[in-house]
Symmetry: C2
Subunit: 192 residues, 2 copies
């Protein structure tokens, strides 16, 4: 989506260590009008599919996921990052390794809010190694929910996340696909 690519070129900062900082408009300070438009694009892309629920993981995907759920007129469920060792049996739990923070974490959703046969659209801000998205798919699998697809704002296409998802037969729609990036030369997108 050219709108998002242009915005990343304009306001994104490529830092050492393969870091793309978009915290001025996407994941700390959030350009809310942009989120609404990006949610509209997810609606366009997944229009015609049965979608019962939008699922994301806290925290930085919640805003765009909320607008997406609004477009489809369905509830939003956000998976919580488990902070304690005592996780109640009322939750589906999946491992989620964070490369960004280099920590093994867990994500969880109450068994009340993810149900067998529900058609779920997964929305998240970033796709790189795919660990967060895979953990959400794992939760869907435990619940017997059916993943309709995955909508991502920014994909690092040179990392293996998309491949892992496609191997599972999951449809992936990313609004900006970074082909390469470098602090000197900036960001280049797939198809340029």
């Amino acid at each position: 989506m050219k709108l998002l690519e242009d915005r990343i070129r304009q306001d994104g900062i490529v830092a050492a260590g393969d870091i793309l900082r978009v915290d001025s408009f996407l994941n700390h300070q959030i350009d809310i009008g942009l989120m609404d438009v990006l949610a509209g694009e997810f609606y366009r892309l997944f229009y015609g599919n049965r979608i019962d629920k939008v699922v994301t993981v806290e925290a930085s995907g919640i805003a765009v996921a909320a607008f997406t759920a609004r477009k489809f007129n369905v509830p939003l469920v956000f998976a919580k990052k488990a902070k304690t060792l005592n996780i109640s049996s009322d939750y589906y739990v999946a491992d989620c390794y964070s490369y960004t923070h280099a920590i093994a974490g867990k994500v969880m959703i109450s068994k009340n809010y993810l149900n067998e046969g529900e058609h779920v659209l997964i929305i998240d801000d970033f796709l790189a190694n795919g660990q967060a998205t895979l953990s959400l798919l794992n939760l869907c699998e435990q619940a017997g929910a059916i993943p309709v697809g995955v909508g991502i704002m920014v994909e690092k296409s040179y990392q293996p996340g998309r491949g892992y998802l496609e191997e599972k037969g999951i449809r992936v729609e990313s609004l900006a696909r970074v082909a390469s990036m470098d602090p000197e030369t900036g960001v280049h997108f797939v198809g340029e």
Copy 2:
């Protein structure tokens, strides 16, 4: 706001230990249409004030804060809960004790996204002891930002949070004010 009070009566669960569970529609699974309507009510209440930015804290206030920011057509900034001891000097940081989890935490906002003279509307899901809201006010104070007011979905009016805020001269607008609650008799609201 009767709409929200009725929904809490219908779907809220009062559990032992002064817990009001609203995770079926407000802070885990989220009724997105309801959030949009509640955001409209915050818009009505604070209409006429200069508002440059909506500020909340991750994670469960983000959805309603996002819709509120959309109404005012301003950016949303969400404070992050600090997870590490290494907090960069690029952030304003405030202590935030959580009574719910009985842990001392910290919240932080990048110095780039909270600025001197900005008029800020603080939005959050719950107000009880007021610690989260006070920590956001502390961040505003450090930045020299001007808090226009605080919009809360559910206030536990028998706890001291509102008092602490009003002592500071902060306008507080809560959409549902719980006067008392009990697992046997349910929830009672202020003014009933």
